[in-house]
Subunit: 240 residues, 2 copies
């Protein structure tokens, strides 16, 4: 498989062969981590960056009452912590879901890249800003959609994002989430997520088994969940 970061950025920027090499070079040092492994914990002050190469991870916060809110799903090509280029301290934790291959990138290597390849740096900021758009879309989802639409919207988003890194085959992709994790991301209870998913199946919108999600009718799913991919900014990056 090609490098997922390269795949992601090529959707929005014309990369030179050289730039592709630089990006691949960032991923030199990678390791496969076990499921449910905390890559980063709240309060950490990491001195290297982490990039997902294979598998999924979650960004999450634990609350005082013992509950948990997932604030992002990270898929291949996503940085876990680009913000540590500027911010000192992690204000949340990051954990793998299934086994996941993580690239470890020395902070210094990134700083060099930014100095030597400003255009590439720009592309990385694009990724950060898209992440911000995703966060806003999640707020809209949590704030203004009922459980059914909310779940459908999440599935549309993951379909789209997985597609952007070439990980959708036909109408299906690997979504290694339990219903508990879906619940923790959507602000619902696992019990209710279960009922919602059953309805999605009943309505012949999805098939979801053994971590494999099949979208039977993506257009209908997008329509009913009011999904508009504009927030993922598939348009070309401004490189001036």
């Amino acid at each position: 498989m090609d490098n997922p970061l390269v795949a992601k950025l090529e959707n929005v920027a014309d990369l030179t062969k050289d730039q592709r090499e630089v990006l691949r070079g960032l991923c030199d040092h990678a390791r496969v981590m076990p499921p449910n492994y905390d890559i980063l914990r709240e309060g950490d002050k990491p001195n290297r960056l982490h990039l997902i190469l294979e598998g999924w991870a979650i960004r999450y916060n634990n609350l005082a009452d013992g509950s948990r809110q997932i604030t992002a799903f990270l898929i291949p090509g996503d940085f876990c912590d680009l913000h540590t280029m500027v911010l000192q301290q992690m204000d949340h934790s990051i954990a793998t879901l299934g086994p996941a291959k993580i690239a470890y990138i020395p902070l210094q290597k990134l700083h060099e890249l930014i100095r030597q390849q400003p255009e590439l740096a720009q592309a990385l900021w694009w990724a950060t800003l898209v992440d911000e758009g995703v966060l806003r879309a999640w707020i809209v989802n949590l704030g203004r959609r009922d459980a059914f639409k909310r779940t459908a919207h999440l599935m549309c988003e993951m379909y789209e994002r997985m597609n952007n890194v070439g990980l959708v085959a036909g109408d299906q992709f690997l979504m290694p989430l339990t219903q508990v994790e879906i619940a923790d991301s959507l602000g619902l209870t696992p019990v209710h997520v279960n009922r919602v998913i059953q309805k999605l199946r009943q309505d012949k919108l999805i098939v979801f088994e053994r971590e494999q999600l099949t979208i039977c009718d993506i257009e209908r799913l997008k329509r009913l969940s009011d999904f508009d991919p504009a927030y993922l900014h598939p348009e070309h990056v401004r490189l001036d």
Copy 2:
């Protein structure tokens, strides 16, 4: 009043006299806009940046069913659209609440600043990344807290942020929000927000009248809403 952007950044970075001047210079061209004025609309491709100097604004999305979700409150010192440095198109709208003084900054001026003052650019990225932290905190708020705690948490956040730009006097500050707007930001209905606010008053936690919010017992409010200011990253910026 001093420049709110300078005030905000000085909390986390040691600015030289020169840098302060540059920041003030960004705000040269400013205008007072009327209440409920759309500074930017979804789909716009702005060629200048907008910075709040006085008053409040909202970042919001309109949904297909006619409802609205506010995804951010912008206060003095906040950029409306730093992301247009990289992204082409607005994926949401921005509107003033009360009358608000907005600085208009040509994109090019910002690009010059980034080239000539990399440290300042770093400080601006700090602001963007804190905004991202705020978005995550909102997701946690919407996903895992009931209406009462959720409302309390919002008030703690705005207290803290207003304080960071020197706009809290004693225990009170100007919060030009109607209950409808609070509802649209918290994913609640105005009716329910009304009942929650009454309870907050009953419990002697706040006084809220004529757009003036007084926090009677900030410590209790923080405790009960599980508020931890770490996500606002008051720590010193990494400037290497």
